[in-house]
């Protein structure tokens, strides 16, 4: 993941994004599930403690002295946490046990502050915050590891299922998005189906269409450049496309992009949009999650669909970059 952004210029932005991601996954994906499974007796406390004994205590890595390396290590650790959490979540599908989080409790009207998992704040100077986040991510990884072992001990999931999930999820990056884009470039009829039906069309590529609402596809043209945001939280078709770039969750991006999109794209991403083209910002929600269909670059005539897919970057799927001509 860290290879995606070779020049880390904004340390504050990276640390803020880690804190916000950690709190999102901890409060919405990890702790509510552990608590629910304990309450319902799907696992027992004994399973959880037994699971913890099996994993032992993880080695504490030597903290990096260099700030940038330390932040990268933090991001890698967070990626590992998210993958481990997704691995175990995908492993156990219990129809009667929808995990309620504060947001959907509020919407369906049974919100109760007694069950609230508050957002933690990580305060202090940047090194202090990094230290607090290192500790918090390590703790969360211990919890997920113990929870995973507990489910195995309780007979809810098998080692084989977990290994298969992990391998499938690690493969999921922006590669699905790249395949979708390359097919749309070479097959106009597929492109039309993609623009009109979104997720339904990706089945043609043997990509599971997923369950996260509708997929909106915004096509870049000579007249328009599209870019995606989620101003309310951080909705993204991540089940199809993997995680969005790190800056996607920053408040600076969410606030500025809907106020002065063209200037924001220039200042944050160094991308000048031609004055003849309009910029269209798509604000995603959990009902419709948007991706950008970038323009096919010049000099790609005669390239195969697979070669074309290699050109597609994760940033271009969000709209913060265009795709360069090869060579």
């Amino acid at each position: 993941m860290s290879g995606d952004h070779p020049h880390m210029q904004d340390f504050e932005g990276h640390v803020e994004a880690v804190a916000s991601d950690l709190e999102y996954f901890r409060r919405k994906r990890i702790e509510p599930r552990v608590l629910l499974y304990l309450r319902r007796g799907i696992i027992g406390w004994g399973d959880l403690f037994g699971g913890h004994d099996e994993i032992g205590s993880a080695d504490e890595p030597e903290p990096q002295a260099d700030l940038e390396l330390r932040i990268r290590a933090l991001e890698d650790s967070l990626d590992e946490l998210i993958l481990a959490s997704a691995t175990v979540t995908a492993g156990v599908r219990l129809a009667d046990h929808t995990v309620a989080i504060d947001d959907n409790r509020t919407e369906r009207g049974d919100y109760n502050p007694e069950f609230r998992l508050p957002t933690r704040s990580y305060e202090g100077d940047i090194e202090t915050r990094i230290g607090l986040l290192e500790k918090a991510i390590t703790d969360a990884r211990h919890l997920v590891a113990a929870f995973t072992r507990a489910l195995v001990l309780a007979g809810q999931v098998t080692e084989e299922d977990l290994a298969a999930n992990r391998s499938r999820l690690s493969e999921l990056g922006h590669r699905n998005g790249a395949r979708i884009v390359a097919r749309a470039w070479v097959d106009p009829e597929f492109k039309q189906r993609l623009l009109e039906t979104g997720r339904e069309a990706v089945r043609e590529l043997d990509i599971p269409p997923g369950r996260l609402g509708r997929l909106g596809v915004a096509e870049n043209t000579e007249d328009a450049h599209n870019i995606v945001v989620c101003t309310l939280c951080s909705c993204y078709p991540h089940d199809l496309l993997g995680n969005p770039p790190w800056w996607y969750r920053t408040d600076e991006y969410k606030t500025r992009i809907v106020t002065e999109p063209r200037e924001t794209i220039r200042d944050m991403f160094g991308l000048e949009i031609d004055p003849d083209r309009k910029v269209v910002v798509h604000d995603s929600t959990s009902d419709v999650r948007w991706m950008v269909l970038p323009r096919r670059p010049d000099g790609t005539e005669g390239m195969s669909e697979e070669e074309l897919a290699e050109l597609v970057t994760a940033e271009s799927l969000v709209g913060s970059a265009e795709i360069a001509s090869p060579g």
Partner: protein, 87 residues
């Protein structure tokens, strides 16, 4: 099931407040005018909604209408029908 109230091309205004409406209507589009560019009907989203909300539309706004910054640029948001009135 009731028919959709709006169709593509309709000019609409987003209401400033709605009782029991979908809470995910972004604040910066409230009380602003836009145009319907797509309609989805009733979206079933059991992960996030207990009961389905009224039909969903993509509404396109001029940035100038939203933030006062002049220019050709646009923002789209996906909004449920209870938030919209004809403009």
């Amino acid at each position: 099931m009731s028919a959709d109230r709006f169709t593509v091309g309709d000019r609409v205004r987003v209401l400033a407040t709605v009782q029991d409406g979908n809470p995910r209507t972004p604040r910066y589009v409230r009380d602003k005018r836009g145009v319907i560019t797509a309609r989805y009907g009733v979206v079933v989203n059991p992960l996030d909604h207990h009961e389905p909300y009224p039909p969903l539309y993509t509404v396109e706004f001029r940035v100038e209408e939203l933030s006062g910054v002049p220019g050709p640029d646009l923002v789209t948001a996906d909004l449920h029908e209870e938030w919209l009135e004809p403009a």
